[in-house]
């Protein structure tokens, strides 16, 4: 059996003695080569978990192993497996050039100068930054800065890459570049990627698995397809009727919303026959149907439902 790329066991973090734990007995195992989406609302414990995994924060209890190396006990070996782009951070020095940054971070990760130069050349070329390598990063666009940050995280060719909001603030083209890169990291290079983002379309497109954290615990941890399929057992239907008429009592699960010149009746049902019942009801009242649409829930619907469940339960 393969050693898990990331193995978090019974992780607990309490910032103040006797206070509420930010992370509460959290366990998560990620196999090598997986792209896992690590999602959760603000304050759920994502950042705390990530920082403990990166060795930037000490845990109150529990362990994090990266390719079998305990981050707390064998930090050096664990960090050799790891590269990260942290959210909300510059990640690289803006006063240095792209080239100087990559050489600096390469040497910081224990690479020889020759190895760092060779790898920096390859990364800057792949990211279309070679022509700008001698420009200071502070003068780059947000997308280019993010590319340099990703290149710095990958300079030592780590087996595990943590990307915290890597597409935040990027334009469409830069987002596409970063997404392609993440896909390539996993598909072609066998990297394990832990991805956190609030852009759920990115998760749906890239992630093999999704783990949702709420109140410091893992609420759901499933393959992306399985997670969506579970929710797709109940499709969403939306019926538009003309004007804003008095509606009959709607079947359970349907709600009505007045729009500009129509009324939308929306509901998630397991059996499509319930929709026919609704239409029969509307026709009996003599209401004019304008449209009927069926949609499957996306990852955003799933996430909101899971988080909503947490907030109500």
């Amino acid at each position: 059996m393969n050693t898990p790329a990331i193995e978090i066991t019974g992780l607990t973090k309490t910032y103040r003695p006797g206070g509420e734990p930010a992370v509460d007995d959290l366990s998560l195992t990620v196999e090598p080569g997986t792209v896992i989406g690590f999602l959760g609302p603000n304050g759920a414990g994502k950042t705390t978990t990530i920082k403990i995994a990166a060795g930037l924060l000490s845990a109150t209890a529990g362990t994090v192993r990266l390719n079998g190396h305990d981050v707390a006990a064998r930090r050096s070996a664990a960090m050799a497996q790891f590269g990260a782009v942290l959210e909300g951070s510059r990640n690289v020095y803006w006063t240095l050039t792209a080239w100087q940054n990559l050489i600096y971070f390469g040497r910081l990760k224990g690479m020889t100068r020759a190895a760092a130069r060779s790898r920096a050349t390859a990364l800057l070329t792949e990211l279309d930054l070679w022509e700008r390598r001698d420009d200071t990063v502070g003068g780059f666009s947000r997308g280019m800065q993010q590319k340099v940050a990703i290149a710095a995280a990958l300079i030592a060719d780590p087996a595990i890459v943590l990307l915290d909001e890597p597409t935040l603030g990027l334009d469409v083209a830069a987002t596409r570049t970063v997404k392609n890169w993440i896909a390539e990291l996993s598909n072609d290079r066998g990297k394990t990627v832990l991805l956190t983002t609030h852009q759920l379309d990115v998760v749906e497109e890239l992630c093999d698995r999704v783990a949702v954290i709420r109140a410091g615990r893992i609420a759901t941890d499933l393959p992306t397809g399985e997670l969506l399929a579970g929710f797709r057992l109940r499709d969403t239907y939306e019926v538009h009727v003309e004007g804003h008429p008095d509606l009959p009592v709607l079947p359970a699960g349907f709600t009505a919303t007045a729009e500009a010149d129509t009324t939308a009746i929306t509901g998630r049902v397991a059996d499509p026959r319930e929709v026919y019942d609704l239409i029969d009801l509307l026709r009996a009242r003599g209401l004019v149907l304008r449209s009927l649409t069926q949609s499957q829930p996306g990852i955003e619907d799933v996430f909101l439902t899971l988080v909503g469940d947490a907030r109500h339960g």
Partner: protein
């Protein structure tokens, strides 16, 4: 990880610090201009409007040390402060190397970065002393107190940087500490002219005090390094900075652990 990796990363950290110094070339030029002017103004005020030869040299020795400690402490403090504010400090901790390599690299880079301004003050002083027909006896032995000042200052910087990791907005501490050393370090007024308890406290606690006192003894008094006329002698000149450095290393390591416990490495 081998010693070669450690040495490589250590040199890398110094290289980064020096590249940042060069990228702030205008700021450095301004400092290299203002600090010598400040020194000359101090001598002018103390000499009631005249650059008295008997004040130029003693004050110069103090001012060179003070400029050095001011620059080193502030540069290394702001390197941490800036990295915490921007968030890049956390990236520097994602290394398989022990953090001490990076920490020491920053200290050395700060010390080297402090040299141009201190050298500018020295050059201005040398010019002023020679123009005023004063002698400027140079002895290689002065390098010992200068080294003692650099080591002691590194210890102080470590304490301040450790506090920065935990408490962040403590700009006032390096500012006040350097101001206190300007008064209590014997830079403007020799320790021998101070009350005994003040001189004792300064020799014990102020990183530059034994060094400045020794330089005055050697350059002005003509004392050999092994028989310094004032202060507590060569033994204390060597021991005090080492003690301050050890205290700095221990405190920094403890405060770094506290920062990791509280999660303040990347919080501002």
């Amino acid at each position: 990880m081998t010693t070669t990796h450690y040495a490589g990363a250590f040199g890398n950290e110094i290289g980064k610090g020096l590249r940042q110094l060069l990228s702030g070339g205008r700021e450095l030029a301004i400092q290299m201009l203002t600090f010598p002017v400040f020194y000359l103004l101090v001598v002018l005020f103390m000499g009631r409007g005249r650059l008295l030869p008997e004040l130029l040299l003693p004050t110069l020795l103090g001012m060179v040390a003070l400029t050095f400690i001011h620059e080193q402490v502030n540069r290394v403090f702001w390197s941490y402060q800036g990295d915490i504010q921007s968030g890049v400090l956390e990236q520097t901790y994602l290394t398989p190397l022990p953090s001490v390599v990076v920490v020491l690299g920053r200290q050395v880079a700060a010390a080297v970065s402090a040299l141009p301004t201190a050298a500018a003050v020295l050059a201005a002083g040398y010019l002023a002393v020679t123009v005023n027909d004063g002698g400027f006896p140079v002895t290689a032995g002065v390098l010992v107190p200068l080294a003692a000042i650099a080591v002691g200052t590194a210890g102080l910087s470590l304490v301040i940087c450790g506090l920065t990791l935990v408490y962040q907005r403590i700009e006032i501490i390096p500012q006040v500490s350097v101001a206190v050393y300007a008064v209590a370090g014997g830079t403007l007024v020799p320790l021998t002219a101070m009350p005994d308890w003040t001189a004792t406290a300064a020799r014990l606690l102020v990183p530059i005090a034994p060094g400045v006192e020794a330089m005055r003894d050697m350059v002005i008094g003509g004392d050999p390094l092994t028989a310094l006329g004032s202060g507590w002698g060569l033994g204390w000149l060597l021991l005090q900075p080492i003690l301050i450095l050890v205290i700095g290393v221990v405190l920094f390591a403890r405060l770094e652990r506290v920062a990791k416990k509280r999660g303040t490495l990347g919080r501002y």
